[in-house]
Symmetry: C2
């Protein structure tokens, strides 16, 4: 039953720099002005948060060792796949002199830089083993994340000795971000667990999927779970559709997708408790103390979903544009658990604070995370490493040649 406590460790997307970029908390007027253009106004509002920016103690940069672990586990697989599957002769046919890579959901880059190094080195090696040393291309890496991501910190953190030209691309990756057929390799790690927005029905008290008194689908009713699941199917479909247009024929895409081994149904609930539920219970407690109305909790939900391998395979199978070249489970890459309760609370704060401030305001954050730390310390369920069952699904896709 108790198995998912650490699945929230894999959050790399989206990121938060809102408090550094803007002088005051977002009000509804400002949100509308910030429409990044690729989305409708309504959708864009849900994208106005991101991981904590900067390099400080509660920054995402200082609190994402788990995500770095995922890169380490994936390294040999990515190298092997590029060595076997990258069709350099097909690429040379396209007559371009550069090799373009995009990382979708890069945050401030600390886990993206090693991944980009792995990919560029593997591509270079592939050209060498094919006897094409003189045709090794210039590399250009596009770092994508939400428009609210802290790109200033990303650019200042770029490795001085990198072997590629760097660019930042702001905007939600569920839509188009690049010209047609302009990318050779797409990468996305620990980001596809974030939905484009919270499913509308779960915050609508007239809907059978209204998620009152909760902040996620875990331990909720079937209708809530299905609202999330349907949204995920649509989001991944939109992501694949956009990338299908952006990738060249024969281009590769490596996805590292946070997931769970199975959807467990314990009684009426669809999954087992997570740290998000723990935050939810803290919010309910604070509402009962009068810090804010209970409807404030009812209308807040985390835009996160964790798929299972079969579901993801089905969604990808619906795309006419990609072949699945490899798909496997990277088991428990997140065994690097955070050492102390305080460190884990800070980690969660780096990930969720922007989202929570947008809904509840910044003034309750200290109280919320103090309460959270106390509840975490008192929870044997969350502190038992055996309850860590989260998985990462590795998928390598190849853009079909038409």
């Amino acid at each position: 039953m108790a198995q998912l406590y650490a699945m929230v460790n894999c959050f790399q997307y989206p990121r938060m720099s809102i408090r550094r970029t803007l002088s005051s908390p977002l009000d509804s007027r400002h949100r509308i002005q910030l429409n990044p253009g690729e989305q409708t106004m309504e959708t864009s509002v849900s994208n106005l948060y991101a991981m904590n920016g900067g390099e400080g103690p509660t920054s995402y940069a200082q609190n994402s060792s788990y995500q770095r672990g995922v890169v380490d586990v994936a390294k040999p697989i990515i190298e092997e796949e590029i060595s076997m599957k990258l069709d350099v002769k097909q690429l040379l046919l396209t007559n371009t002199k550069s090799f373009r890579i995009a990382d979708f959901g890069c945050s401030t880059g600390h886990n993206s830089f090693p991944a980009m190094q792995i990919i560029t080195e593997a591509v270079e090696k592939k050209f060498q083993t094919e006897g094409l040393n003189s045709q090794i291309p210039d590399f250009q890496v596009f770092f994508n994340d939400q428009v609210m991501n802290d790109f200033n910190t990303l650019f200042l953190s770029l490795p001085p000795q990198r072997s590629y030209h760097a660019a930042g691309v702001p905007g939600p990756f569920h839509g188009r971000l690049f010209p047609n057929a302009s990318l050779d390799f797409a990468y996305c790690s620990c980001a596809l667990n974030w939905l484009s927005e919270v499913p509308k029905a779960v915050a609508d008290h007239n809907s059978p999927a209204w998620n009152n008194g909760k902040v996620h689908y875990t331990e909720a009713r079937q209708e809530v779970f299905e609202a999330y699941s349907n949204h995920y199917v649509n989001d991944i479909g939109a992501f694949l559709n956009a990338r299908a247009q952006e990738l060249v024929q024969g281009g590769l895409m490596a996805l590292l997708v946070p997931a769970v081994p199975a959807f467990k149904n314990s009684g009426t609930s669809y999954t087992t408790p997570t740290e998000m539920d723990l935050i939810g219970s803290c919010l309910v407690d604070m509402a009962k103390k009068g810090r804010f109305g209970e409807e404030k909790v009812d209308s807040f939900n985390f835009p996160l979903y964790f798929t299972i391998p079969d579901e993801l395979k089905t969604i990808i199978g619906r795309s006419d544009s990609f072949n699945i070249e490899r798909m496997e489970i990277l088991n428990n890459p997140g065994k690097r658990t955070l050492r102390s309760v305080n460190a884990r609370a800070t980690y969660l704060r780096a990930v969720f604070e922007g989202l929570l401030i947008n809904h509840f305001g910044s003034e309750i954050m200290d109280e919320l995370f103090e309460l959270y730390t106390k509840k975490l310390a008192a929870s044997p369920h969350f502190l038992d490493p055996d309850n860590e069952k989260s998985i990462i699904i590795f998928v390598l896709l190849k853009r079909k040649v038409e």
Copy 2:
């Protein structure tokens, strides 16, 4: 004699976000860590400033109407040149489906966005008039500026209805920033007056070009002027060389270069007083009052140079890679002078504050600009609009087909 007072109005590059990005002023250790990679460590340090970021009252975004005026004056010329000189059939030969534009020195984008709209619309129109409606490409615009530029504000300011995919590219434009042959159109407005760094000799008290008691080559000795002039020649050469590699064959480049009609030699000086000299005299006054040592002023110089048409033509003529398609003077586009003395002081502060903080520290800024405002108010030379003689040189270059 008195003719250049307003030439400093054309500063779009580099830009400043340092105080927003970092929690404390840059110390020498931090500067080294921020090496952006494309430059040697020493050079990169000189790039750690930029226009004032954000959207506040002293931001560059709120204080750059002059530069916007330059775009307005250049609009019909750019449209005409694209209509006449863009070889769309040559571009289609390269087999790419997108049209890539880069703006070198974009700041937070407020003057770049209208320029990018002018270019994309003109290119689209050119495809239409050639009967190639079905082959109008996807546009991708790269916004380049120093690594310290406030890209977060740039991305948040992107026009919602833009017709291109946007990317930010950090780094100094005197070096390579893009893969080989990956750009179709380059643009650079009000930025090539900024040198890559202050010429070393002018801050070296053992050199005949030591510029003691001054902060710029204006009203200085011949050796100082020549140190600046030589540096400019090298910088523009490096810029052209980098762009020659990055542009596709037949690609166009539009430059809007801040300049002066002629180098005037009044007695021992090589030019006439500018607002930079006025800042210099304020710094000398403050040194005399003991706010800092006089050697602090001797070691500070503005990395700025204003060429004349003949000099620029000679430099470009040395490049084997470009043909000059058009070159002309946009006379006095900056007649939009700032209305009040205070507004002009704020404008200069938006441009120079980052540079000055790096050398003198932030604590003297209020005093400096108060003193500056007083001196400006008392200077008939600077307040007489007839002394405005600055020019913008428009150059359209075409990358040779080899």
